[in-house]
Subunit: 114 residues, 2 copies
DNA sequence: ACATATTATTTAGCATGACTAAGTAGTGGT
DNA sequence: ACCACTACTTAGTCATGCTAAATAATATGT
């Protein structure tokens, strides 16, 4: 199966991340894994793609991140846990509507019989 | 209705143009109008967006363009008529399959219940 | 002790391609 | 003469996803 990547994702990545967080808070690495799993082999985001999206969404007030604290017996570095902000949930709804319009309009054009 | 533009179109514009030409040859301006009409007010391509796509597709051998000739009683400057090349028709089919995969995978992620 | 693997984050620089904005050109109407 | 409409051209900008490498913390194996 061909990978979905590059330009095709443009303008949709934010919605994908927000939708992922709508299912529950998660840290960056986890979001990457969830998206990879949800993509059933057709999606393969790299860190350099995802993290800047998180910074952008946090700076825009769409998501809220905080460093994980507490007695951690796990291995590895600190994680930043993100969750949807109220604005983010609103934004997600808006983006979902736009997505539906997008696939209807563009699909109607692209799916023309050859 | 919000306009579809910018990054959301990335990676889909080529397919849109090929699909438009699959319905019959046309010159650039006409393709713009057809896309505008097909977009039902949600699409508004400008020349600076469309023409470079045509040049790119022609250079890649996906479409063939030729200057309109003959006794023309019509008004206005010369037009370049484009039609789908064999490669272009093949490419369109491939892009349509990718489109279906795209909306299935990305849609499955974005349409998560809020 | 040391290397290696895994988890997790950061970031500088690049590439793609849609957009902005302005220009050229021909024809018809006022 | 000027404007509107049709039609094409193109230089420069910008957003954003990707490449690639570095840093960090801990566990496991030798």
């Amino acid at each position: 199966m061909k990978k979905i990547s590059g330009n095709a994702l443009r303008g949709h990545l934010d919605a994908m991340v927000l939708a992922t967080l709508a299912r529950g808070e998660a840290h960056g690495f986890e979001i990457m894994q969830r998206l990879g799993a949800a993509g059933r082999g057709a999606l393969e985001l790299k860190e350099g793609t995802l993290y800047p999206v998180l910074y952008r969404l946090e700076a825009a007030g769409m998501i809220v991140g905080k460093w994980e604290t507490g007695a951690t017996e796990r291995r590895g570095p600190r994680r930043r846990i993100y969750k949807l902000a109220r604005n983010g949930r609103r934004d997600l709804k808006r983006r979902q509507e736009q997505w539906r319009q997008f696939i209807q309009v563009i699909g109607g054009i692209v799916e023309a019989p050859t």
